[in-house]
Each structure stands twice: as C-alpha cells, then as structure tokens.
C-alpha cells in the first residue's frame, strides 16, 4: 500500500541521508532488510496511532538538536560488581572498558562481528517479528543504522553482570546502537545500562530468553536535560523463563522507551517497570509497552510511575494481548503519575485485548497530587515541607523501584531520585 505523500517524502529524505555501516555479508543483509522495512512502513508521524501523544519529529529528522552535557561524575551503578563496556558518543572505548571475557558469557562487538551463526539467526529477527501488529519503523531504522553494539551469548550462570555505560563528549552526537542478547536454556544474566548516550540516542536490544533462563535488566538513562532517546527492547520469552526490566529516566527532552515482549513458552514470567521524574515543559517521557501472551500459565507485570512538574509531560501506552489458548494468563498493569503542580500532564492509554476465556488481567491508571493529609501529618511531626514532599514522592515511586530484585541497585536509584527531588522543589 502506498504511503501518504507527506510520509513518503519525509521517509525518502531521511533514508537518502543513511549510509549503512560496513560489515560481513550476513549483517549487511540484515541491515538492508531492515531498511526495506522502513521504506515499506514509512517513518512515524504525529498522526500515527502510537505517536499521537509524542511527536517523533526530532527522532526522524536528518538533523540532530545538540544537548548540553550533564555533569558526568557520580555515575549510576558505580558500586556494582560488573564487567564494564563503555561507549563514548556511540564509539566503543576499549581503554575505559574491561576485557570483554567473562565466565559463562561470550561478548562480541557488532562492529567487529564476523560469522557468528547465533547472532546471524537472531539479529533483526525479533525486531522484524515485533513490527506486527504495531509498526515500529524507528526500530527497523536503528537495526539498519546501528554502528556498534554488543552481541552477548550467555551459556550458563553468568557470575558477573555486564554494565554498558554510554558516555558523552560531543554535545551534538547522533548515535544508533544495536545489542543482541541470547540466553541458552537455564542460563542467567544481568545487564545494566547507564548514561544518556548522545544528543540523539537510538538503541535496540533483542533478547532471546530460552527455556528456564533468567534475564535481569536495570537501566538508568543519565540525567542530561536536552537529550533525545528512543530505545526498543524486543524479547522472546521461553517456557519457564524470566525476563525483568527496569528503567529509571531522569530529565531528558524526549524519551520513548518501547518494550515489546513476546511470551511464547508456558509458565514464563515477564516484568517491565519504570520510574521517571521530569521538571519543565521541555520534558516528555513516553513508555510504550506491548506484551503478547501466546502460552499457558504465564505472568506479566507492568509498573510505571511518573513524577511530573512545571509542565512536564508523561505518556504511557501499554497493551496486553492474550491470544487464543493462552489460558491461565495473569496480567497486571499499573501506570500512575504524581503531578506536583497543575501544569503537568499525564496521558495514558491502557489496552487489553483478550481472546482466551480463563485469564486474570487487571489494569489501572491514575493521576494524582501529593496527599495533603499525609503531608500535614508529616509536617505536624516537624518534618519540613520539602523533606515531607520528597518522602511522599519516593513512597509513590516505591512500587516501581521494588520491581528491581537487586536491593543495592534499587537503593542506588532511590538515592538519585531523592537527590533530584530535593533539587527540584520550589
């Protein structure tokens, strides 16, 4: 079907500016196939159903808007025992990184990939699968353009986590990265990500979680105010396996985190959660989730909390699709915003589409202010207004933070949120 003219023109203009990175034949083939998907779908525009709350223009434009560099001291997860892989403006920094050899894990960089059979079978395939029923052209564009990334193969119980840190040096960098993580049956692995990455940062992560495997993902997206970011996580979740992902977003001009989870094996667990805090009209944060239950007895959980003030905008689009035969599905979805003033906005679109008759799905979405009674109670005990507000805001965020299994990682992020809240109160 032909694209609308305006969309066709915008897509043509963008694709004309794309040069595919060099690589082995299998990778070039995957990139070209991804590019073909972009051509067929066209780039997203405001009129598209999944972009009506978030304007994709600054993500699709050829030009990049530069973003000031945030103070890079006091980094997230600095205390965690993890193998470091550092990218600076999207370029791998070998000096700042550890030797990418770890017990139970094989890591190859996309930029250095040769004939890696497992990656060849996977790269771009979960993304391509995730294009239906909702098109995600920016994910395909990222698959095509990504210059680097990590191809991680986990064969057993990975003793150490891998921490991918995205540093910035150039205020105007435009970066696309693509990671692939494959967990063999019964394998366990934790991936940490931190940093804003670039003025415009596009990233894909395809995660194949085989039967009985466990994948933990904890991410903090830096605190640079002007950066624009679009991440896509595509995961296929096998029988009896576990996938858990948590994202903290502080500041940022535009954040769009897409998470597409495909539960294909019985008795699997899929959790995705996030907390964000934003101050000012220049803050726009969008969590878009699509969970497909295509197996029996699986549990999925979405917990998203947003704290917004001074005209900040939060968006949540979350869908649970329970296919025919996906009986005994237990789906839970909650999206909540705490509006610290009357100027901020929370736009939520929870969706359930259920074709099985023996399922339990619950969903809720709320927008609210600080509880005045609780605030007065705390103040009447001598807790100053500001501290009381921070305490109550942290308590609002607690349900999302509790989704992080590792307590010390959760504490690290909680402290950052507390610091931000103290700094951002009138």
């Amino acid at each position: 079907m032909a694209l609308p003219q305006r969309k066709q023109d915008a897509t043509d203009a963008r694709l004309a500016a794309v040069t595919l990175p060099d690589g082995p034949a299998w990778l070039t083939k995957a990139r070209k196939a991804a590019l073909a998907r972009v051509s067929a779908m066209g780039l997203p525009a405001r009129r598209d159903e999944y972009w009506k709350f978030s304007d994709p223009t600054t993500l699709t434009d050829t030009a990049v808007i530069s973003a000031d560099l945030a103070d890079a001291s006091d980094r997230e997860f600095a205390g965690a025992d993890a193998l470091m892989a550092v990218f600076v403006d999207g370029a791998f920094d070998a000096d700042a990184s550890d030797d990418l050899e770890a017990a139970g894990v094989t890591i190859t960089r996309l930029a250095q990939a040769q004939d890696i059979t497992w990656a060849g079978d996977l790269l771009g395939t979960l993304e391509a699968r995730g294009q239906s029923p909702v098109e995600r052209p920016l994910a395909a564009l990222t698959t095509a353009m990504a210059t680097d990334g990590l191809l991680i193969h986990v064969t057993g119980d990975a003793a150490r986590a891998v921490h991918v840190r995205y540093d910035r040096k150039d205020a105007g960098a435009d970066v696309a990265l693509h990671h692939v993580v494959k967990l063999d049956a019964g394998a366990t692995f934790t991936l940490l990500e931190s940093g804003a990455g670039a003025a415009r940062f596009m990233s894909n992560m395809e995660v194949d979680v085989a039967d009985g495997a466990t994948f933990h993902h904890v991410r903090a997206q830096g605190r640079d105010t002007g950066r624009r970011m679009n991440t896509h996580t595509f995961t296929r979740i096998g029988t009896g396996s576990t996938f858990k992902s948590f994202t903290l977003s502080i500041n940022g001009a535009l954040t769009r985190n897409d998470c597409i989870m495909d539960i294909v094996g019985d008795d699997a667990t899929a959790h995705v959660a996030g907390a964000c805090v934003g101050d000012g009209e220049g803050f726009h944060h969008d969590d878009t989730v699509f969970i497909t239950h295509d197996a029996v007895g699986c549990e999925s959980r979405q917990v998203f909390k947003k704290v917004l003030r001074n005209g900040a905008v939060g968006v949540f689009q979350g869908k649970i699709l329970v296919k025919h035969g996906a009986q005994k599905t237990d789906g839970y979805q909650i999206s909540q915003s705490l509006l610290l003033d009357g100027d901020s906005q929370f736009l939520a679109k929870p969706e359930l589409e259920i074709y099985a008759d023996d399922v339990a799905c619950s969903h809720g979405s709320t927008s609210g202010a600080i509880d005045e009674d609780a605030l007065f109670y705390l103040r009447s005990r001598g807790v100053p207004h500001k501290t009381a507000t921070t305490l109550l805001t942290l308590s609002f965020l607690a349900e999302a933070l509790q989704e992080i299994d590792d307590e010390s990682l959760g504490d690290d992020l909680r402290d950052r949120l507390a610091g931000w809240l103290d700094r951002h109160q009138s």
Partner: protein, 251 residues
Amino acid sequence: MLEIKGLKVDLEDEDKSILKGVDLTVPAGEVHAIMGPNGSGKSTMSYVLSGKDGYTVTGGTATLNGVDLLAMEPEERAAAGLFLAFQYPVEIPGVGNMTFLRTAVNAQRKARGEEELSAGDFLKEVRAKAKDLKIDAEMLKRPVNVGFSGGEKKRNEILQMAMLEPKMCILDETDSGLDVDAMKLVADGVNALRSEGRSFLVITHYQRLLDHIKPDVVHIMSNGRIIKSGGPELALEVENNGYADLLAEDA
C-alpha cells in the same frame, strides 16, 4: 505554656464559623481536658493550633510560651514543642515507620539547633520506648500506620510523642476506638510523659480516659466557645447527666 485568647476560626471553603472566641490557658505541667458535644469545635481547635490548611483565623491569638503559634508553619510549631496526637492517624504507604520517626526527630533537633541523633542512639531509644508501649519490631518496620489496628495506631501516636518530647501535647480523642486494655496502655504512656515542663490538652468524649489521665482542669466546649471550666468533677457531671444542663445554663 499554651495561651488562647478570643480565637475565632472559619472554615475556608464554606462561609461557616466554627470557633467563636475561645479563651483557654494551660499552664506548664498541667493536664487540661476538653469535653463537649459533637460539632462543638474541639477537633477544629486542635487542627488550627497545629497548622492544618482549610481554616481561616478571623480573630484572636494563640501562643506557646509567648511565641505566636498561628504565624508559624506546621513543622515550626512542632519544633517549637507542639504535638498533636491525631484522632485518625494517617496511613502513609511506602514510608517506613522508623524512617519517618528518625526524620522527624532529627528535623526537629536541627530546627532547634541541636545535634542530630545518631542511628545507634536513635535505635536504642526507639526500642526502649516502643517496648513500654508494647510496639514490636515488626510494627516499627512497617510503613507508617499501614495495616495497623485502631489501637496500634494510637500507640504509635504516643510513641511519636515519647520520641519527640514535645512541651505541649494535644490529644484529640485518643481514646476513641480503644478497648479497655489499650486505653490503659495509652494512658500509662501519657502519664509516663507527665512532667513539670510539659502540658497536656486532652480532648475526649468520655470520663473513662480521665480516670487514667487525671486532669487538673476540665473545660466544656459548646458551639465554638468554652462555656464552663472546673475541676475533675465536671467530667463526672457530664458522664452522669450529659450536656443538657450545662448547655441550658449557658443559654
């Protein structure tokens, strides 16, 4: 200690007058009780003194040791030594009871220019005081008042009072919803805090609490004013005859 003169208060949202000129003085070291029919303004007075939003003071003054209470923020009043034991203690999910207590204790100390309590000293003190009130470690760990029974909430109020060591304690119907044993426990907690430098204003509907917490003076409040003050025998009179005679006397 506490001196209220001609205090007049309206509800902010409605054009409704609640307190119509309250005069009340509680000297240091004394326990005063306030009784009165429902809707007479007892709880409103406790809220206005502690600084809750939603009320407009249209006249009069309230001072604590000569300092104007009404000009201060709620947290400043607390640091100045005022404490309100809530009739309905608020549940705060996500904030641990211990975190809350320690934040409050240290915020008050800081506001008064005193040194903050160390984690160890705080723990020692809170454990000892909690034990007296039969508050177990589990209750201290839970979020503030969440899942607490009525009695547990009231004991938790008294624990806060014991930790914060205020000068002027207002107890707003602390006996409501308590069984006989719980009332005794709460009263013991309050009595343990009685001292020369500390005063109490006990708002209650029932004489029974005053059997345990013996007041020096009993005030009867009606229609936004103190209509009669007397000794403990006044509470007994109310218990036996109700308010009808007193109200008729006032009219």
